[in-house]
């Protein structure tokens, strides 16, 4: 492990002090957490030191989602500190969420003293055992001497390669022991990934692109993690290839550009799904051919050759066989592709662009024939119209958008045009209801100058609404727009479609008064019930309330509205229900 041989620099320190010093050296400026028995000394040290801002969540799950929000907008690992037992188990959902969506999350859990481990001591739980399958790396530190090394290792693993959560479990006595300590330098960490992409493969890929007739770029969260948006844009500028994004990829390519076909998949646009499935070449970048994207995989894009750029070799050829695998960082690989394209004779690229113009013609046809659509009503607010109205109000602002999970999430993905990377927070892989609200708090703490808007459902909001305390306490003036349909909307949609309208356990027979609830916490509340008052009230709530006061906007939306298009589960991806 670490040799503390530089006697002259070493100082007598407790484990707690070592942890704080190490975290500071890593650049950790904010920690989300809740104290408890075994981590009190560490909390004491945090307060004495005073350099790291601690955000006191009201539930550990909230702390993890806040840290995810922080991580998603900054690209830095989000740090979480909790106590043993329930403190640790409450972080599990957030850790699993970060694992599925490749979010760098760094969790420290306290543990009972080493001499109590295995005795079923008070608030003892096997935190490393429980979190093992949902972390990239986790460990229990049994000696104070190993603390700095393990913290640095876990922190760095969380942000390297395909990012993800890591967890370090630290027993109480390891925190309180005193040793002579020097901050270790030059720690060698295991290299697990390859960044640069095989040059030959990249040439093959470019060659394929220039020969294709119906190409499409299908990009995912990897574009955002690697910061490859500029490269993606440049590639499209050169080639004019249409782009579709996954839910996690939204923001990776400017949603207002004409080359953008919208999200694809189960609730993707008609055009995106038709285009990818009729294509002869798919350029997949940082996306993983998830079942929500491919639909029935047997019928997925039957004519397409596939180029797949991904930093995680295990994502390549997992669900769909890949013709040209390129293992590497999306930013580096796309840059190399652009360089190859720049060395290609201009005439060849011009020919290519002319060749795909008929493909574009077809795509424009689809867009005209089957745009996203819904019917407005005089009496009921349509959820889609709520998103369009919010977009109109905020389109010139620097925003961060978060969503919860369900119908509203899909509508936001369809209707709110995300323009920049790291401004859209959503729980894609795990689909964690209750993610959106704490995530926007964490994001706004990292980026206080941005307008933070959380789209949530009445079901989702109730899963983590206790964090309203944090928003008020920390003066985080987020705007929460609740799609209030009195139900678990997506569940009712499926019950309408596949379960003969039997609403088993999906309707709320009582609802809190969200306006009063907001006021009870010291926040502001709005209720919007009529389409006629929608725009004005919404504008007022978002724009005219003080920027340091959270605002909860309870919007009664049409509970019968369904998300379309929809590829029913198990169907070929071109069989979409349009309405």
């Amino acid at each position: 492990m670490i040799e503390n041989n530089k006697e002259e620099k070493s100082k007598r320190m407790t484990g707690a002090k070592i942890i704080v010093e190490t975290l500071k050296s890593l650049g950790v400026d904010t920690i989300f957490g809740i104290p408890g028995g075994v981590v009190l000394l560490l909390y004491d040290e945090l307060m004495k030191d005073g350099k790291i801002r601690h955000i006191l969540a009201r539930h550990e799950q909230g702390a993890t989602h806040m840290a995810e929000g922080y991580a998603k907008v900054t690209g830095k690992p989000g740090a979480v500190l909790v106590t043993s037992g329930p403190g640790a188990t409450n972080t599990i959902t957030g850790i699993a969420d970060a694992y599925m969506d490749s979010v760098p999350l760094f969790v420290i859990t306290g543990q009972v003293p080493t001499y109590f481990i295995g005795n079923d001591a008070f608030q003892e739980t096997d935190s490393t055992g429980i979190s093992r399958m949902i972390t990239k790396y986790n460990t229990i530190v049994k000696r104070t001497e190993d603390l700095a090394y393990e913290i640095i290792k876990a922190y760095n693993i969380s942000k390297s390669g395909r990012p993800g959560p890591t967890l370090v479990d630290i027993p109480k006595d390891v925190i309180s022991n005193e040793i002579d300590f020097t901050l270790p330098e030059n720690i060698k960490l295991p290299e697990k990934h390859k960044l640069d992409g095989n040059d030959r493969q990249i040439e093959v890929a470019v060659d394929l692109i220039l020969k294709s007739e119906r190409p499409i770029i299908y990009a995912g969260g990897g574009v955002i993690s690697s910061g490859a948006s500029e490269e993606l844009e440049e590639l499209v500028d050169i080639t004019g290839i249409p782009v579709t994004l996954t839910l996690m990829g939204l923001g990776g390519f400017d949603g207002t550009r004409p080359e953008f076909l919208g999200m694809l998949g189960m609730h993707g646009t008609y055009t995106a799904n038709m285009a990818i499935n009729n294509s002869d070449l798919i350029i997949a970048v940082g996306s993983r051919f998830d079942d929500r994207v491919t639909g029935n995989v047997e019928y997925f894009a039957p004519f397409a050759k596939i180029i797949h750029i991904d930093i995680d070799p295990a994502s390549i050829s997992k669900n769909v066989d890949i013709d040209v695998p390129i293992v590497g960082d999306a930013k580096i690989c796309l840059r190399k592709m652009i360089n190859v394209l720049k060395d290609t004779p201009k005439s060849k690229i011009k020919n290519f662009r002319e060749r795909i113009s008929s493909w574009w013609g077809k795509i424009r046809d689809w867009q005209t024939k089957y745009p996203l659509k819904y019917k407005k009503s005089d009496s009921k607010i349509k959820p889609q119209e709520l998103i369009e109205a919010t977009y109109e109000i905020t389109k010139n602002d620097k925003v961060i958008i978060s969503t919860d999970v369900g119908q509203h999430q899909m509508w936001v993905a369809q209707y709110y045009k995300i323009r920049e990377p790291r401004t859209f927070l959503t729980s894609g892989g795990l689909g964690t209801m209750g993610f959106g609200f704490p995530a926007i708090i964490g994001a706004k703490i990292a980026k206080p100058d941005r307008l933070g808007i959380c789209f949530s459902g009445d079901g989702s909001f109730q899963m983590n609404m206790q964090e309203l305390s944090v928003a008020v306490e920390e003066k985080v003036g987020v705007r929460v727009i609740i799609f209030n349909n009195g139900a678990h909307g997506m569940v009712t949609q499926w019950q309408r479609k596949f379960y003969g309208n039997r609403y088993s356990a999906s309707l709320f027979h009582i609802q809190p008064d969200y306006k009063k609830l907001a006021e009870a916490f010291g926040a502001k509340g709005y209720v919007i019930e009529k389409p006629s008052e929608l725009k004005e009230k919404l504008r007022k709530a978002i724009k005219e309330e003080p920027p340091d006061v959270p605002v909860i906007i309870d919007v009664k939306v049409d509970p019968e509205e369904d998300v379309y298009p929809m590829v029913p589960p198990g169907s070929p991806p071109t069989e979409m229900l349009i309405s």
């Binding site: 399958m133 790396y137 460990t139 493969q201 070799p313 066989d321 890949i322 070929p572």
Partner: protein, 212 residues
């Protein structure tokens, strides 16, 4: 068109020319700009997938010798629905490193995915699939078998044929040690079964590449 796909991911350099040629022919064969449009479900073409048969694969791993590593690896198999037929672990000449031999059954697509997932584990240093390269497989098996005065000789002859050893004798039993590959240990079990097996213990297969 792709009965013989190249190995994906790690070994990405091979067979490129092949796939480039395939591409040319593929692109010419679908002149329509929207080939799926207007097709009913039963007319929809399927995406060609490579099919390979299921067989046992021999994976050999170098891993860090510390707590939780075995749990992470076995958890990966359990959590992703892969199957472990045999597992054998032991320290190497470097006490910080353990060698693991895992026999798993699956088609090459599944096994390829297993290998990639194993490589992602931080504590896993190296993964090799030695199924199709010359290698030696051995496991040690201890069998306690019912033995009477009448049949003890016969059992001992069997043990001799299998180059096994008698490691323990009682009035009613014999304990036999057999070393060999799965085929040999299975064959011995088959032959010894009629005498009445009391207990079988196997170490799991350890495998090593032949040659330098």
């Amino acid at each position: 068109m792709d009965t013989e796909k190249n190995k994906m991911g790690e070994s990405e350099t091979s067979k490129q020319e092949n796939s480039t040629k395939e591409n040319d022919s593929l692109m010419l064969s679908t002149p329509s700009i929207a080939p799926l449009e207007g097709l009913s479900r039963d007319m929809l073409p399927k995406r060609p997938q490579r099919k390979t048969e299921e067989k046992p694969h021999v994976l050999t791993l170098l891993v860090e010798n510390k707590a939780g590593v075995l749990a992470r690896i076995s958890g990966l198999f359990a959590g992703r629905g892969y199957n472990i037929e045999s597992l054998c672990v032991g320290e190497t000449n470097d006490p910080k490193v353990s060698r693991m031999t895992i026999i798993t059954r699956g088609d090459s697509r599944v096994v390829e995915q297993i290998e990639k997932q194993l490589r992602k584990i931080i504590e896993v240093i190296k993964v090799s699939n030695i199924t199709d390269v010359p290698h030696v497989e051995r496991e040690l098996m201890l069998v306690k078998v019912h033995a009477t005065k009448e049949n003890r000789d016969e059992i001992m002859r069997l043990v001799e044929i299998f180059r096994g050893k008698i490691v323990d004798v009682t009035l009613k039993t014999l304990t036999v040690e057999i070393t060999g590959d799965r085929e040999k240990t299975d064959a011995f079990l088959h032959l010894i079964n009629p005498f009445g097996i009391k207990e079988v213990v196997r170490t799991g297969i350890a495998a090593i590449r032949r040659g330098d």
